[in-house]
Amino acid sequence: MNTYNVIAIGGTGMRCAESLVQLCAMGMFDNTEINLLALDTDFENGNFKRLKTLVDNYNRITADRDGVASDTLFSAKINYFTFSPTYTSGTCFDIISRYSEAQTNTHDDDGVKWQDSDLVDLFLTPEMRKMDLQHGYRAQTQMGSMLMYHAIKEEALNNKQRGSDLVRYVEQLMSNPGSIVFMFGSVFGGTGASSIPILPHALQEAARIISKDGQGDLLSKNYFGTVMLTNYFSFDSPNTKDEVYATSDKFALNSQAALSFYDEDETVKSTYKRLYLIGRERPRNVSRKETESVTGGAAQRNPEDYIELAAASAAYDFYHWVQEHLAKTISNKNLGAATAEIYYRTISSDEEDCLSFESFFGADKDKFAQKCGIMMASAFLFGPQDFATNRRNHSSFSALTEADVKNIRDFFRHFYDLEGIDEQEPGSGWIRQMQESAIEQGYQGFLFNQAAYNTTPNSARKFKYNEQMYPEKSAFKFDTSLLSNAYDTFKKEFGDMVFSDSDKSAVSALLKRTYDTFSKLYGF
């Protein structure tokens, strides 16, 4: 079993983590235990809540299984941790930093009078210092970096005996040297842009505080990688009376400044083995059509974007690269110091200007096509075709409970709401939003045949995923006999064999059998 440590920072990081969880659900991380730390200042953020809901759902599905699996859906094991600085309503920089005290500490050096607060005044206006932190740093990264570093240190100090999520996360990094750690975050927003430069050192400091001998060393003993998303979306300015709020018109400038920093900062380059820069030329406007833009909180919930899947594929790439080159160090003789490899890429579309499996996973395109295809077909099977309920009525899966069926249906509805019953976004779902983002950016298609995205709740039950799911030129399809259909053929191949362990692990047995059946039918 392998372990992979992932840290998702801020709203963008959360959405990248969602894509990572979907890749886990497809089975892209066989035999892997993923320790996922979600880190945000805004605990009520819609993306934060959505990630937690998704991971909780995932873990309920895998609850009947010990550890990891392979060649099946939901093969990875996900351990979920969260950390959010405790910013209650009214908390601001002035309070945390005790600014008023710093203001009163005056000094006189050879006639030059200065106060402890002078340095902060160079970076922060009074409005920024008094800004309510409950909804995050609002793209004020010069403040966010300081506050996040401080918050992590304080968490370690206050909870090293009681063991909070962050403390446990750091402890497991300390006890497993040689761990692979990957971070998701943006460089243009608030929390991610604030945290990526300082997080490894903040964790190092937390390790030092937590360790018994004060010698906790995370940086040199573990392998850090990160994806940095440049400005890929924009939004209308929020309608708010607050004096400080994030505006997307500064995102490009923020990205430029951040990239310049990362290119020059020796600490960043020596800490991270790889940095993946991902972005696009034209940002996507994600302004809410029905309601107004918001500064944060539960209402802040941007739609999924294929850029986030690219970020998750970067995490996959880093994981496999480190495993292949564990002890390799990157050095640049000209600089005289170890330098991170910086990868940037453009996503290529195929000859029909569609984003294909190869666009995201390159050499592993077939693996991704197969596993994503099984997941997509399973969305039809467990959604409108309600196969889990069908199996529950069969003797071979009599251990399946109503709750098990609901968990499976809920997850696949989150993947693709084919029945149009999601309360907040009916007919949507992760992959549907990915496809919409690709179409909005001018691509002609996304991974699968357009027919797979054009179903209605009525037509989804009868959708011919045997021949209409993959693109027309794809070899992945299976035939049905005269007067038969995809569901009928699947059910026949699935069989009615009673599994010896299905009375204890009915959900895992069902998913494994489904995976094997589709693999055989499609000829994987």
Binding site: L381, P384, Q385, D386, F387, T389, N390, H394, S395, R461, K462, L482, L483, S484, N485, Y487, D488, K491, D496
Partner: protein, 127 residues
């Protein structure tokens, strides 16, 4: 080609042949219902209506079997009988044979369906 039935011996032979023929028709309809039941696809969703469809076809085949037997009996033998008392006697056996043929169809089909594993298409007819 059946010749005119004029003697008691010929009548008796015709009656025996009728029973044999209707039994064979019953068996042929067993094969037909097995084919039809397997051709009806499982329907997706929480409530699969395909077992009910197969059941309907079972009864359609039962009725069709009865009338097919009667039709074959009529054209093969009954219209070759001219004597009135022979006609009356033969009609009784014709109807009995057709019913026996249908019962063979229904009974053997039922037994075959009950012998199948659960969740097969045949088993679903008499779930």
């Amino acid at each position: 080609m059946v010749s005119k039935i004029t003697t008691a011996v010929q009548l008796h032979q015709a009656e025996m042949a009728t029973y044999m023929t209707d039994a064979i028709i019953g068996i042929a309809f067993i094969v037909l219902i097995i084919i039809i039941a397997n051709m009806i696809s499982w329907q997706p969703g929480a409530h699969d209506g395909s077992p009910a469809k197969r059941r309907v076809w079972f009864w359609i085949m039962a009725v069709t079997c009865l009338f097919t037997s009667l039709g074959v009996n009529y054209f093969s033998w009954l219209r070759h009988i001219s004597k009135a008392q022979f006609v009356t006697e033969y009609i009784i056996h014709m109807i009995a044979a057709a019913v026996v043929g249908s019962l063979i169809y229904a009974g053997i089909t039922y037994i075959i369906c009950k012998m199948q594993k659960k969740d097969t298409k045949l088993a679903s007819i008499f779930k």
